[in-house]
């Protein structure tokens, strides 16, 4: 692992009105590794990601990018640093084709004119390098299946040569085979030396591809685990609260009933 993490969060806090969404959260993600961010609903996963992506500016704490403190006030700031975010709702334009979507907002031009040839070539190379198979790079997104849209959205995140890719629930709406494809893709991102933050509810997915798992609970850190030497149960109990989980509750109920 490289010396300085690509991105480090130090004591990040975020408040929405009366709601304290994040309280002094720390997080580190390194190049060539996948950090899974897990937690129950409302634990602050999405908020944390949005602070990194510049959607919500942070109230307190510091963001460090490759060791330097930086301010991220707008989504563009994050993009300039090299953070690419794939949101759950993908945000692709249905009426545009794959190439146009991949390069939306950063089209290749010759003079003032779009360079379709260069874009199509690069799109094909990019999709090939990620082993993404779609019917044609020139069909509208509307013609693609959910899994294909997801991989296109991820591929799009890579067009700007980012250093950190954030995937927000990339497998939530997908079937088994499609999920496998997306997880393959996540591993390929790691092989390319990118830092990946993966948000997921699916513990099997997380354990399959992540190197580390960071658990958030009620807007606070609740442990960072190495996947290699952590059991499923330990993570689950960190998510739900160490002493409060389905197993302990049932145990408590049965002992109560026994008495």
């Amino acid at each position: 692992m490289s010396a300085a993490p690509v991105l480090a969060l130090r004591g990040i806090s975020k408040r929405f009105g009366a709601v304290q969404a994040l309280t002094e959260v720390d997080l580190e993600v390194r190049a060539g590794s996948v950090l899974a961010l897990v937690g129950d609903n409302g634990a602050g996963k999405s908020t944390l990601v949005k602070t990194i992506a510049g959607v919500h500016p942070i109230d307190d704490g510091t963001l460090e990018w490759e060791g330097r403190p930086v301010t991220v006030a707008r989504p563009q700031d994050a993009q300039h640093l090299g953070v690419a975010t794939v949101y759950q709702d993908l945000a692709l334009c249905d009426n545009l084709d794959v190439v146009a979507n991949l390069f939306l907002g950063r089209e290749a031009t010759r003079g003032k004119v779009l360079d379709e040839v260069a874009m199509e070539k690069r799109a094909q190379e990019l999709l090939d390098s990620l082993s993404i198979r779609i019917p044609s790079v020139r069909i509208p997104i509307a013609s693609l299946s959910g899994g294909q849209r997801q991989v296109v959205a991820i591929a799009r995140a890579l067009v700007g040569d980012p250093k950190l890719v954030i995937l927000d629930e990339p497998t939530a709406a997908l079937g088994v085979e499609q999920t496998a494809q997306v997880l393959d893709l996540v591993e390929r991102l790691r092989e390319r030396g990118l830092a990946v933050i993966l948000i997921s509810h699916n513990m099997a997915d997380v354990l399959a591809v992540a190197d580390q798992v960071a658990v958030l609970r009620l807007g606070r850190n609740n442990g960072v685990f190495d996947v290699a030497d952590t059991s499923h149960e330990e993570i689950i109990s960190a998510i739900t609260g160490a002493t409060e989980n389905a197993v302990t509750r049932r145990k408590a109920r049965t002992t109560e009933a026994a008495q």
Partner: protein, 455 residues
């Protein structure tokens, strides 16, 4: 030739991919028998073993491939401009048989003169429709621009060229104002432009004062706009030649570049076929115009604006942004597109072209009167854009639809006039039916495209 490569539309922007399909984009791909549903979801990872994924869109060789591809498109609901072109041919055939002189050069030249003003307004409407919005004010803006220009030039004795310039600037500024209220303040475009529709026609009357109409200055700029003809036959033929050469050149260049980097490209036969069709159309038009008065300035400006608009929309980043905002505002915003600016600029274009159209209508009529831009001007402009194939739902369309659509409407109006049934009642009813038919085709083809996984 790379016949097993994935399907493609060489050099076509994605926008073109679904809006002007079979006719404009070349029928170069076809599906290997696949379920009619969305292109299959579970792309197995084992595909890597097979050299060609059977679900990929693969082109077939030669014209047999074009034919199967054409059938696939029709089945998939990608009709594009086909219905309206068929309709136009039918309309012309009917009126030619009933009147016997509909297709005479004098009549067609006449039509070519009438379509310019409304057509320019419709071109502006296409931009707004691409955003999925509507601009109800263009008729009033057209009237106000004509009134303003005439008052400045005739009553205020301003230089007429300057007056025209000021009128057009005002039209653009009005459009920008609509855009500002819509994009920045967040008022629905429908309401903003409805207010504009009322307000600007009021201002038009106010500017005109107690005069009902102001004659164009004889021999002046406005009068010349739609009454100037380049009678030298070299003008029309020369322009046709330039157009065909430019079309052929850009296609060949595109093909060469794609070949150089080993991307799928059109076979030479197809390139020649396309340019051949363009050549036939261009030279037939030039020949027809030369039979009468020669190349009209108005038509040249109109077609020039359409070509420029089509180029901007399909070949520049700005055009891509317009389509993106029309296809998904949130996606566009996340991609870093300045949605507010795109919206304001589109309404500015709409206002400007509305004003330009107003000047051509004034030139055509010989006067700027207080009714100019009122009545059905607005509705015909919107109808033309929709009849020509631009979707009301945003994100699909081309400026060419303004040209085709206004040609259909004007053909009906002229034809009815020549048949003796010139009453507004019949004209309005027929135009209404044609508009309804166009929207029905749009909606049905969208539904078919959805079931075929292409919408």
């Amino acid at each position: 030739m790379s016949d097993t490569q994935p399907g493609k539309q060489p050099g076509q922007s994605p926008a073109a991919a679904d809006q002007a399909p079979a006719e404009a984009e070349g029928t170069t791909k076809t599906t290997v028998p696949a379920p009619a549903g969305p292109v299959d979801a579970g792309a197995p990872a084992t595909d890597a073993l097979t050299p060609v994924d059977p679900r990929l869109l693969v082109r077939e060789q030669g014209f047999a491939g074009y034919l199967t591809d054409f059938k696939r498109r029709i089945k998939g609901g990608e009709l594009g401009s086909i219905p309206v072109l068929v309709g136009l041919v039918v309309i012309w055939a009917i009126f030619e048989t009933t009147t016997g002189r509909f297709l005479d050069p004098s009549n067609l030249t006449n039509i070519a003169q009438y379509i310019v003003g409304p057509g320019l307004i419709a071109t502006g409407i296409v931009f707004v429709l691409l955003l999925g919005e509507i601009d109800l004010s263009v008729g009033s803006v057209a009237g106000l621009t004509a009134a303003l220009t005439s008052v400045l030039a005739v009553k205020q004795d301003l230089n007429e060229g300057l007056a025209v310039l000021l009128g057009l600037l005002a039209a653009g500024a009005i459009g920008a104002l609509h855009g500002f209220f819509f994009a920045r303040i967040g008022v629905p475009a429908f309401v903003v432009t409805l207010a504009g529709f009322l307000g600007w026609s009021g201002l038009q009357l106010y500017v005109m004062g107690n005069t009902l109409s102001i004659n164009n200055i004889s021999g002046g700029v406005v009068q010349g706009l739609n009454n100037t003809y380049f009678s030298d036959i070299a003008a029309a033929y020369g322009l046709a030649l330039v157009a065909v050469a430019a079309h052929l050149g850009s296609q060949l260049l595109d093909r060469k570049r794609r070949r150089a980097v080993d991307l799928p490209h059109r076979p030479l036969s197809e390139v020649l076929l396309r340019s051949g069709v363009v050549a036939v159309l261009a030279f037939a038009t030039a020949w027809m115009l030369n039979q009468e008065s020669g190349l009209p300035l108005g038509l040249t400006v109109f077609v020039g604006v359409v070509v420029l608009a089509a180029f901007v929309l399909k070949r520049t980043s700005y055009g891509r942004q317009v389509f993106a905002v029309g296809g998904g505002v949130e996606a566009a915003r996340r991609a870093g597109i300045n949605v507010v600016w795109v919206r304001i600029s589109v309404f500015t274009i709409s206002g400007f072209l509305g004003g330009l159209g107003g000047l051509f209508i004034a030139s055509q009529a010989g006067v700027a009167d207080s009714n100019l831009g009122g009545g059905d001007t607005l509705m015909l402009a919107i109808a033309a854009a929709v009849i020509g194939g631009t979707s009301l739902f945003g994100g699909r369309g081309t400026p060419w639809s303004a040209l085709i659509g206004i040609l259909v409407i004007q053909s009906i109006m002229t034809g009815l006039y020549m048949s003796g049934s010139s009453s507004d009642a019949v004209q309005s009813m027929i135009t209404g039916v044609v508009l309804l038919a166009a929207v029905v085709i749009d909606s049905v083809s969208r539904r078919t495209q959805k079931t075929a996984g292409r919408a």
